[in-house]
């Protein structure tokens, strides 16, 4: 079978079809790896951007499938915002390899690494997977500290303004408004949590140290014995003992974490399982970053109040 004419046809057809995406009325096409970054990008970009998140608000952001539809999304992006600090290490590199988009290549103006500029917590001093799946660049769940959200928003605004200079003033106004809202809310949130300074809680994964540091909470233990390692019966027993002796009654889980394990522990410690999500949209009515944080702080304050 002679396939050379077929090949020639395929190449000619490939070159003949126009395939540059049509310009979208000057809007920047922005892709964020997670919904929290997408929500901040929407606030800052406003009408100047179209924003899409790759991860679902309810799924574990460490394990997103490198679906082919994400390849297409990334191929047409002007900007990619990633959390960085190895959060997306298991799925973003193969997507980018297939997406072949120079605009969002490492180091390009269209590539925003949100963790750059953040004072990272829990940077390990040695790399040893016996300690679980520790991220070598530090804990990547930094956006639950609202001041970190401001740093990320500032970085996003600078880059958006650079890429869409015509909208720079609107972008800067959006940034000022976002920062002002965070500042105003910050006072409110600190007041809500002020009575619980030093309050002890347990979380499923090591995903709330930034929140604890900002609002003075004390995370005494995690249900995972080590990051990314499923709870073992022995560890669960130890956590139950610890919660009883230290009178810890609030147990925080995110939507994708094993609530049943948390419920078992809560039953035996007379505690409450508190559903929090770090991703806007995971809980109804929390589509913006502020709404998400608001819901988080309020339910935390309520739970800590009831557990007192």
């Amino acid at each position: 079978m002679n396939i050379l004419p077929l090949l020639q046809y395929a190449v000619v057809a490939a070159l003949a079809v126009p395939h540059d995406a049509p310009p979208r009325a000057g809007k920047l096409t922005v892709v964020a790896t997670t919904p929290d970054l997408a929500a901040i990008a929407r606030e800052i970009g406003g009408d100047a951007v179209d924003v899409k998140a790759l991860a679902k608000p309810t799924e574990d952001p460490h394990f997103v499938d490198a679906k082919p539809s994400h390849v297409v999304t990334l191929n047409r992006a002007d900007v990619l915002i990633e959390g960085g600090a190895e959060l997306e290490l298991g799925w973003l590199p193969p997507l980018l390899e297939s997406a072949r988009n120079a605009k969002i290549a490492a180091g390009a103006p269209g590539r925003i690494v949100a963790s750059q500029g953040i004072r990272m917590l829990e940077i390990p001093t040695s790399f040893d997977r016996a300690k679980g799946d520790v991220h070598s660049l530090g804990n990547p769940h930094f956006l639950v500290d609202p001041l970190n959200a401001k740093i990320v928003a500032t970085q996003i605004a600078q880059r958006f303004a650079q890429l869409a200079p015509a909208s720079a003033s609107a972008i800067n106004a959006n940034l000022a408004r976002f920062n002002a809202t965070v500042d105003a809310k910050m006072g409110e949130w600190q007041k809500l949590l002020a009575p619980y300074k030093g309050a002890k809680i347990v979380t499923y994964h090591k995903d709330f140290p930034y929140l604890a540091a900002r609002f003075g909470l004390d995370i005494v233990e995690n249900l995972e014995p080590k990051p990314g390692i499923a709870p073992s019966p022995a560890h669960i027993a130890a956590v139950i003992m610890l919660m009883k002796t230290q009178k810890v009654r609030v147990l925080v889980v995110q939507p994708y974490q094993n609530r049943k394990t948390a419920e078992t522990v809560a039953r035996q410690t007379n505690g409450v399982v508190l559903d929090l999500s770090q991703q806007p949209g995971a809980i109804k009515g929390t589509d913006t970053y502020i709404a998400m944080m608001d819901a988080m702080i309020k339910s935390l304050a309520t739970a800590l109040g009831e557990a007192k």
Binding site: M1, T58, E59, P68, L92, P94, E97, R100, I118, A230
Partner: protein, 441 residues
């Protein structure tokens, strides 16, 4: 901290300036100008203090970034080690488990130990290298350069070029490495069409991401058609297919290269489901005669559902199936059993086909149950028993203690036409050292 130190230094300097009665220059000036100079110094110090206070204030609100660290060096290094334990009802394990990364004896084997290197070469290229260590049934180690290629990162028009030695992008499983497989052995049909190690050669592949609203990619690989990993083409062991003695056949022109076109498309029927479809072909010369050719056609489907609340990627259900058909145009050739068949074997079109279908169910985090059913079949024209009908059913269970290790237990019920039924138990243990693995969908 640094800011505090600088403020302290400035304050100390100003105090010292006052204590010493101004600068040495001031000593030569009138008392009036000295006072003015001191006032100016004071003013500028006050301004500096205010600026520093402002900076401190903002620094408190927006903490200064920690020094940026980058992960890794210029290259990711990882090592995958696979250990198997197998027991089968047949002592001829090598005849039963014909894949290159499968046990050849009853007992323990190390069927794959793979050193993988990858990284960014420069702003234009990425590169991948896979060096495989193989322990044969006698425990002898051999080293093989399995893959080594570069990939462009910034070609225009959504094109991408891959050059080197690599697993040919035909179907779904052929380009995958063993640690990404759902079972401990290669599907029968891939073994029958592409041999023990799959279809792999030296060549180039151009790929084009189509400008469609859904994912669609067209690829064409042009590769050398000779060597041990071009089984259906000019490989030395092609006698297993056609029963004859392969002829020496060089490359006379472009028609003697191997051409592998592939088109693949994907859709998300719902936000939790993904469907990936593909069609491939492989066209090249075979070594039964100077003008003999082989054509292989393939269709593949992969469907996956993943829970919207997936933890560590679980629970999920995935279905994968591939169908392949081969038309092997064998020329008249001397038999490889001259004592039995003394005349040349007549030219013939040898037809084979086969398929496998497998279902994986990620029941809860890190536990996957899987079931595979498969068949292969060939006509009788070459009298080769290796082309006879064979079916196999394999249930399996895999436990991933973490992303870096894996235990698997698998049972095969095998039915080969000339040999009858065989039962095989396969236990696998695999570890990954080094860089975090990232898998394509």
């Amino acid at each position: 901290m640094r800011l505090c130190f600088r403020i302290a230094t400035m304050v100390a300097t100003s105090v010292a300036t006052f204590a010493l009665g101004g600068s040495p220059l001031g000593a030569q000036q009138t008392p009036d100008s000295t006072a003015r100079a001191q006032q100016r110094t004071l003013d500028s110090l006050t301004a500096s203090m205010r600026a520093l206070e402002a900076r401190l204030d903002s620094a408190e609100r927006l903490p200064a970034p920690a020094p940026t660290r980058t992960s890794g060096a210029y290259m990711n290094v990882s090592f995958v080690g696979l250990s198997d334990f197998l027991w089968s009802s047949t002592p001829d394990v090598a005849g039963l488990q014909r894949g290159g990364h499968e046990p050849k004896v009853r007992g323990f084997s190390i069927p794959n130990a793979e050193l993988a290197l990858d990284g960014t070469v420069d702003p234009y290229l990425k590169a991948f290298v896979n060096i495989v260590h193989l322990l044969d049934e006698k425990g002898e180690t051999s080293v093989e350069l399995e893959e080594m290629y570069f990939l462009t990162t910034g070609l225009p028009k959504n094109l991408q070029l891959k050059v080197g030695q690599f697993f040919t992008e035909f179907g779904r499983q052929n380009p995958q490495h063993p640690h990404a497989w759902a079972f401990g052995d290669q599907p029968l049909v891939l073994n029958r069409m592409f041999g023990a190690d799959g279809l792999r050669s030296q060549g180039a592949r151009i790929s084009w991401l189509l400008p469609t609203s859904f994912y669609a990619e067209a690829m064409l690989s042009v590769m050398n058609s000779a060597g041990p990993t071009t089984y259906s083409f000019r490989a030395d062991d092609s006698g297993e297919i056609h029963g004859g003695v392969p002829m020496e056949r060089g490359v006379r022109g472009g028609g003697d290269m191997l051409y592998v076109p592939r088109i693949t498309a994907s859709f998300d029927p719902t936000s939790t489901q993904t469907l990936l479809l593909g069609a491939s072909g492989a066209f090249g010369p075979n070594n039964t005669g100077p003008d003999a050719r082989t054509a292989i056609y393939g269709a593949d489907v992969y469907w996956k559902w993943k829970s919207p609340r997936a933890a560590a990627g679980f629970p999920f259900v995935a279905f994968q199936s591939e169908y392949l058909a081969r038309r092997y145009d064998a020329a008249s050739r001397p038999s490889q059993y001259p004592q039995v068949v003394t005349v040349n074997m007549p030219s013939a079109m040898l037809r084979d086909d086969g398929a496998y279908a497998q279902l994986q169910w990620g029941i809860k985090p890190r536990i996957v149950a899987a079931l595979r059913g498969e068949y292969v079949n060939g006509d009788h024209a070459s009298l080769e028993p290796l082309r006879e009908r064979r079916t196999r059913v394999s249930p399996g269970l895999t436990w991933f203690p973490t992303e870096y290790s894996k235990f698997r237990i698998q049972y095969n019920y095998d039915q080969r036409r000339s040999w009858g039924a065989d039962h095989t138990l396969l236990v696998q243990f695999e570890f990954l050292l080094g860089a975090h693995a990232a898998h394509k969908f």
